[in-house]
Amino acid sequence: MYKIIEKNFLAENIVMFKIKAPMVAKSAKPGQFVIVRIDEKGERIPLTICDYDRSLGTVSIVVQVVGASTCKMAKLNQGDYILDFAGPLGNASEFVNLNEEELKNKKYLFVAGGVGAAPIYPQVKYLRQLGVYCDVIIGARSKELVILKEDIEKLGCRVYISTDDGSLGIRGRVTDLVKKLVEEGNTYDEVVAIGPVVMMKFVSMLTKELNIKTTVSLNSIMVDGTGMCGACRVTVGGQTKFTCTDGPEFDGHLVDYDEVIKRQNMFRDEEVRRMHHTSECSCF
């Protein structure tokens, strides 16, 4: 059992939890995820590690309510327990393997879509602690859905915002900002894009044109998260890979995004049935 130490709403349907899980906290690295099972009847859902505190033994996760399990989760409160919390899973971000010397002169551009700001947070934090230059773009539908802006600014990097309705930052999409920054003469060694698959697809198409190495983090459907089932398989560079053990981060220019999107919808009808079943979601 894993205790919820803290719970905060970051937006109407986005919740941050701080969970007591000392073993996970001790080994966690940016880019990795956990598998959570809320209760005996729950499914195993993957969530990115958003922050960790090794001395307190806590791990933070940010959950966007999209269906039955995330809804059930959002209803939990500080002091409640989560039945299973397994991790860290997946490979750490590639830059974790680089030494300070190798990182020193690199420039990174992070592009987050919606709740994608949560998974990029630990990466930016890690790089900024080593003094590496990072720019960050956050895109969302509207102002209320922009999360972690101040927290990321506090890490000492410039944050650019785009919203669909123009309620914050520029009116437009994250790709507009990527284009603008590059046109203004900024150069980047690598772009890291995390968010909805469609967003990662379009960012990757653009950066391919711009010839910038791009890493994306895929959120395929998973069951075990340990390489045992193949539910998370994706095609990267024409080869089948398992997101949980080979990823979750892949070369953005090689991913078959249309397949990822199709596979994500595999259980849509089932999920809708379940959603009605589990009563209306009234967590917000």
Binding site: V223, R263, T278
Partner: protein, 459 residues
């Protein structure tokens, strides 16, 4: 003639997940035991992978001394209730029985199961625990290899902790083999409870290699030896076109959703979608389990296998039950492509006819494609049950552990000693996908090797 064993009626069983084979009663077991000739050659023992003294335990059943029979079995096999249910007896013990030459072999598996269940149901303590040694040993993975290694070490007086990646202990016994063949509450959970009674601690949700490394187990957590029983859980795919279409599952995914996550029960959250016509590719136990699970979820199920029924590696009983339950066998057939509709869902397969020509070095007939024999069949779910390879996480993250070109951990045959000091391994992680009895035996053997290692290690 064998004493027939009671089974659930076909009409009933295809609507539920209850165990199909009901096992012997005391009377039936004693009657069946009396068929054993107690012959001198005892070929049954020679053909048992762990050499259980079969005539002796059967002798005790004849005399109704069931506890004595249990003592004999447990000397060799720590999981008789399970092995009695899942061992391929027809090619092991029962395949050696002289009665089988003219008629039917003694039902050794059913008798073993009877004794195993007798012990579980009557809470009989078969173990005599040795005094505590105050030494810690870690066991990674809780399948049959890990479970038997842990129980043997605990009996020898070690403080044992099992680390399991999933949320439930049991390995393939809980996530793979279905309830209708191996009941979870009645058998697997009980075996695990017995382990807890021996003082073994089980930590779930720990992925060794990720949550803690092997080195940390030694350096930070104070374990003096480690056993790796992480199995061969990584599913293989065929590499044919369309394999990533929606509705194509590995057998592991399909069975995990159904067994571990109990997706077939409405009150559980994990979804499982199954069509009206299901194709299962493969001819082993895994294929039969997937097919029979799909039958219970209401589908018309085809087994697609490239050789003939005679070459199928599945247990005879499973093939027999699958047929009884209406599974259709399309043999000498191999998929060449999976066809998907415009939304990416499976709609059918291109299949090719095969014929058998000659034999390979292992003596198995070789399937060869029949040219120009391609045809299309409609299916809406495809389940791949064509094998698995060892889980890679530990070997990925620990360079001291050597693996071979099949990704199996390299060990010394007799002891299970790996290339890393103090680390032993056994079961499917070493052999590749094999059997419960071999994994159980390897775990037990490694436990004795670890005992030997730690007894001679004077710190």
């Amino acid at each position: 003639m064998r004493v027939p064993v009671k089974e659930l009626k076909v009409e009933e069983r295809i609507k539920c997940f209850d165990e199909v084979c009901l096992g012997y009663s005391e009377e039936e077991a004693v009657l069946e035991a009396s068929r054993c000739l107690n012959c001198k050659s005892a070929n049954c023992v020679k053909k048992c992978p762990v050499g259980v003294d079969i005539p002796k335990f059967i002798e005790y059943i004849k005399k109704r001394e069931f506890e004595k029979a249990a003592e004999i079995i447990f000397k060799y096999n720590s999981l008789p209730s399970i092995c009695g249910r899942v061992c391929p007896q027809e090619i092991q013990c029962e395949g050696g029985c002289v009665l089988g030459k003219k008629g039917e072999a003694v039902a050794i598996g059913k008798l073993e199961r009877f004794i195993g269940d007798y012990v579980l149901n009557n809470d009989i303590d078969v173990f005599k625990k040795e005094p505590k040694k105050n030494k810690k040993v870690a066991v990674v993975g809780s399948g049959p290899a890990g479970l038997s290694c842990a129980s043997t070490l605990a009996i020898l007086g070690y403080d044992v902790t099992i680390f399991e990646a999933l949320h439930e202990a049991g390995g393939v016994l809980v996530y793979g083999i279905p309830e209708f063949r191996l009941p979870k509450e009645k058998i697997v959970k009980k075996e695990i409870e017995n382990l807890l009674k021996l003082g073994v601690e089980i930590k779930t949700n720990v992925i060794v290699g990720r949550t803690v490394t092997l080195n940390q187990l030694f350096d930070e957590l104070g374990y003096e030896a480690v056993f790796i029983g992480t199995g061969a859980g990584l599913p293989k795919f065929m590499g044919i076109k369309g394999e990533n279409a929606n509705g194509v599952y590995s057998a592991n995914e399909f069975l995990t959703r159904a067994n571990l996550m109990r997706a077939f029960l409405d009150e559980y959250d994990t979804p499982l979608k199954i069509g009206k016509r299901v194709a299962v590719i493969g001819g082993g136990n895994v294929a039969m389990d997937a097919a029979r699970t799909a039958v219970r979820l209401g589908a018309e199920v085809h087994i697609i296998y490239r050789r003939t029924e005679d070459e199928m590696p599945a247990r005879l009983e499973e093939i027999h039950h699958a047929k009884e339950e209406g599974v259709i066998f399309d043999v000498l057939t191999n998929p060449v492509e999976i066809l998907a509709d415009e939304n990416g869902w499976v709609k059918g397969m291109v299949l090719r006819k095969m014929e058998l020509k000659g034999v390979d070095e292992s003596g198995r007939r070789i399937p060869v494609e029949v040219e120009g024999s391609d045809y299309v069949e409609e299916f809406d779910t495809v389940i791949m049950a064509i094998g698995t390879v060892p889980n890679p996480i530990i070997s990925y993250t620990t360079s001291e552990i050597k693996i071979n070109n099949k990704r199996c951990i390299v060990v010394e045959e007799d002891t299970g000693k790996t290339t890393m000091e103090g680390v032993y391994a056994g079961g499917d992680a070493v052999t590749g996908a094999a059997t419960v009895i071999l994994a159980m035996g390897a775990g037990k053997r490694a436990a004795y090797a670890i005992d030997h290692y730690l007894s001679n290690n004077n710190n």
